[in-house]
C-alpha cells in the first residue's frame, strides 16, 4: 500500500474550527454541559473514548454543543512494529461517531515488538526514516479516509544519526505524506532551549499551508533544561514565539493544553483569551 497511494487526501469535510479552543478534560464535563461557556471548539483525547459507556456518552453530549477535534497518542507512527489495526479500527469507529474537524497524533514511536511504553519517543531524522514514516502516514490516512495532523514533540534526546534538522524533516514529511501539521509552539521553544537552536529557523522552514492547528502549553524549568509537563500557564518566551507564528501562518486555530494539575475552567478560559489577544483585529 502506501507508496502506490497517489490520490490526494482531502481534509475532513466538517465541521470547521476557528479561534482559540481548550483541551477537553473530564473534570470540566459538568461545567461545559451546564453553563455552555463561550468556547469556539474543544479538543478531545481520542485514547479516552475508545470504549463505550459514559465517556463516549459525555463526548456525544458535548459534541452536540461544540465542534471537536480528536488528538491521540497511540498510533506509534514511527515504530518499526506493524500499524496496530485494532487501535486504528477503534479510532475510525470513534471518528465516524464524533465527526471531528480533524484527527491528530504525534511524530513519534511508542512500541517495540508489541510492548508499549505509552510515551512519545523521538525518531532519528534521516532520509530513510522520513520515507518510512511518510509511507505509514499514507497508510493511516488511506484507512481513515482523511488527512491527519502530525504534531512535533519535545525530544529530550537527539540521535547522532540525524542528517536533517527537525524542521527540515517535518517540512519534507508533511508534503511527502500529504498530511497536515499540528505545530506545538511550546515544544518548538522547549527544543530550542534544550538543544540550542534558533526557534525562528524552525518556524521559517515550515510550509504555512500545512499548519492547521497550534498547541500552546506551559513547560517546567528543571534547572538547566525545560520539561514539557503541560501543567503550567504558557510562559513569556512561548507567547512571543506564538506571535511570530501567527504572523507567518495567519490565524490558525489554537489550543490551550493542560494535562497535569488541571485548573478550573475559568483559568483555561483566561489563557484562551490571552491567546486571542495575539490575533490580528478585524
Amino acid at each position: 500500500m502506501g507508496t502506490v497511494v497517489t490520490s490526494k487526501m482531502a481534509p475532513r469535510p466538517s465541521p470547521r474550527i476557528q479561534g482559540v479552543g481548550i483541551g477537553l478534560r473530564s473534570q470540566h464535563y459538568a461545567h461545559l454541559l451546564t453553563h455552555q461557556p463561550d468556547v469556539p471548539w474543544l479538543e478531545a483525547l481520542s485514547d479516552n473514548y475508545l470504549g463505550g459507556g459514559l465517556p463516549i456518552h459525555h463526548l456525544e453530549q458535548i459534541r452536540a454543543i461544540y465542534p471537536l477535534t480528536l488528538h491521540g497518542v497511540g498510533l506509534s507512527l514511527g515504530s518499526v512494529d506493524p500499524i496496530n489495526r485494532d487501535y486504528l479500527n477503534r479510532l475510525k469507529t470513534l471518528a465516524d461517531r464524533i465527526e471531528p474537524a480533524h484527527i491528530s497524533d504525534h511524530l513519534c514511536w511508542s512500541s517495540v515488538q508489541g510492548d508499549y511504553f505509552n510515551d512519545l519517543a523521538p525518531l532519528p531524522y534521516t532520509e530513510a526514516v522520513l520515507d518510512y514514516v511518510a509511507d505509514r502516514i499514507l497508510q493511516v490516512q488511506e484507512f481513515l479516509g482523511c488527512r491527519i495532523l502530525i504534531e512535533n514533540l519535545s525530544p529530550y534526546l537527539q540521535f547522532r544519526h540525524n542528517s536533517l534538522t527537525e524542521w527540515d524533516f517535518i517540512a519534507t514529511l508533511v508534503n511527502k505524506a500529504d498530511c497536515d501539521l499540528l505545530l506545538d509552539i511550546n515544544n518548538v521553544y522547549v527544543n530550542a532551549v534544550n538543544h540550542g537552536f534558533d526557534p525562528l529557523d524552525y518556524l521559517h522552514a515550515i510550509p504555512p499551508e500545512r499548519v492547521k492547528e497550534i498547541h500552546l502549553a506551559g513547560y517546567e524549568d528543571q534547572g538547566g533544561f525545560l520539561f514539557d509537563t503541560h501543567g503550567y500557564p504558557v510562559q513569556a518566551g512561548v507567547w512571543q514565539l506564538y506571535q511570530v507564528a501567527l504572523e507567518q501562518f495567519g490565524p490558525v486555530p489554537t489550543l490551550i493544553e493542560w494535562d497535569t494539575d488541571i485548573p478550573t475552567f475559568e483559568v483555561l478560559m483566561a489563557e484562551a483569551k490571552k491567546a486571542s489577544g495575539y490575533w490580528p483585529r478585524d
Partner: protein
C-alpha cells in the same frame, strides 16, 4: 508496505531497553542486554547537547514512562490504593511495572495482572482480601469502559419456532464478569467509595461474595445474585443450550424452573443476546 530501515529497528530496541525498566521481561524477540549495557550503547548513539545531558534526557524518559504506568494503576485500582495507602501503592506499582510490560497503546488495558501479582506480593500478605478487591476493581473498570452493546433483539427471538427453543444459547452482557470471593469484597469496595456515607467498618467474618459485575447501558453495576441465580448465571456463562440448562436445574435440589426465571432476567438486562446454531449456518 514499506520495510523499516534496519538502523531504526536497532535504535528502537536499544532505546526501549534503556528507557523501560521491565524490558528485561519483555517479548522474547527483543534482544536482551543488561540495562547498563543498553544505556552505555544508547549513549554512543546520542548527540551531545549543551543544555540537556544524556543522563538528564534518559532520566526524563525513564521517569515519564514509570509515571504514566503507575498512574494508570492508581486510576484503575483506587480502592486498593486506599486500603494500603498511597505510598505503599506507589512502591508496589513500581515493582509491578518492572515485571509487566504494557501490551497495548491504550493505558486502560494496563494492569490486568495486578490481582494475581498481589497474591504473590509478600508485603501485602497481611491483607488477604486485597487480590479479590483488585479483581472487583479490574472487572468494574472493564465493564465501565466496555464497548456499547445493543439490547436483546426481541423480534429475532420471537421468530424462533418453539421446537428450536431448546437449542438457544443465551448470552450475558459482554461487559459481565462473575466474581466469587471468600471475603465480603463488595462491602469493602462500597465502604471505600468517595461518596460512601455509611460506616467504613466491614466485618471480615461476614459471608463471602458472589457478584455479577456488568454495565446496564450507562450504569456500571455490582449485582448480588441469590444462590439459584448464581448457579444459573454460571450455566449461561458457560454457553450451554437452553434445553440442557433447563433439564440440569430440574434434576438438582432444590429444583429451579428456569423458564420462569428467564423473563425476570431479561427485564434486569442480564440477558443481552442469544445464538442459535441453525440460524448461524
Amino acid at each position: 508496505m514499506a520495510t523499516p530501515p534496519s538502523e531504526l529497528r536497532e535504535l528502537q530496541n536499544l532505546f526501549y531497553q534503556a528507557i523501560v525498566p521491565h524490558a528485561q521481561q519483555a517479548s522474547p524477540q527483543i534482544a536482551k542486554l543488561p540495562v547498563q549495557t543498553s544505556i552505555d550503547q544508547l549513549a554512543t548513539q546520542i548527540r551531545s547537547q549543551d543544555n540537556l545531558g544524556f543522563e538528564q534526557g534518559l532520566a526524563a524518559y525513564q521517569g515519564s514512562v514509570m509515571g504514566k504506568l503507575t498512574r494508570a494503576l492508581e486510576e484503575i485500582y483506587p480502592v486498593c490504593c486506599r486500603l494500603v495507602g498511597p505510598e505503599f501503592f506507589a512502591a508496589m506499582s513500581r515493582v509491578y511495572v518492572r515485571q509487566h510490560p504494557s501490551r497495548s497503546p491504550d493505558l486502560g488495558d494496563y494492569g490486568s495482572q495486578l490481582p494475581s501479582f498481589l497474591e504473590q506480593f509478600e508485603p501485602a500478605a497481611a491483607l488477604p482480601y486485597l487480590p479479590d478487591v483488585a479483581r472487583l476493581e479490574w472487572s468494574w473498570h472493564r465493564a465501565f469502559n466496555a464497548m456499547d452493546q445493543p439490547g436483546l433483539d426481541f423480534q429475532a427471538l420471537g421468530s424462533i419456532p418453539q421446537e428450536q427453543w431448546g437449542q438457544i444459547r443465551f448470552e450475558l452482557p459482554h461487559s459481565s464478569v462473575l466474581l466469587a470471593s471468600r471475603y465480603p469484597i463488595h462491602r469493602i469496595w462500597q465502604a471505600n467509595q468517595p461518596d460512601n456515607a455509611e460506616s467504613a467498618q466491614v466485618n471480615l467474618d461476614q459471608a463471602g461474595a458472589q457478584l455479577l459485575i456488568w454495565r446496564d447501558r450507562l450504569e456500571t453495576r455490582i449485582d448480588l445474585p441469590n444462590e439459584a441465580d448464581w448457579q444459573l448465571l454460571q450455566a449461561f456463562a458457560a454457553g450451554h443450550p437452553f434445553g440442557e440448562i433447563c433439564a440440569q436445574f430440574l434434576d438438582q435440589e432444590p429444583t429451579l424452573d428456569v423458564a420462569t426465571r428467564l423473563p425476570v432476567w431479561v427485564q434486569r438486562g442480564w440477558i443481552a443476546g442469544f445464538l442459535i446454531e441453525d440460524m448461524d449456518d
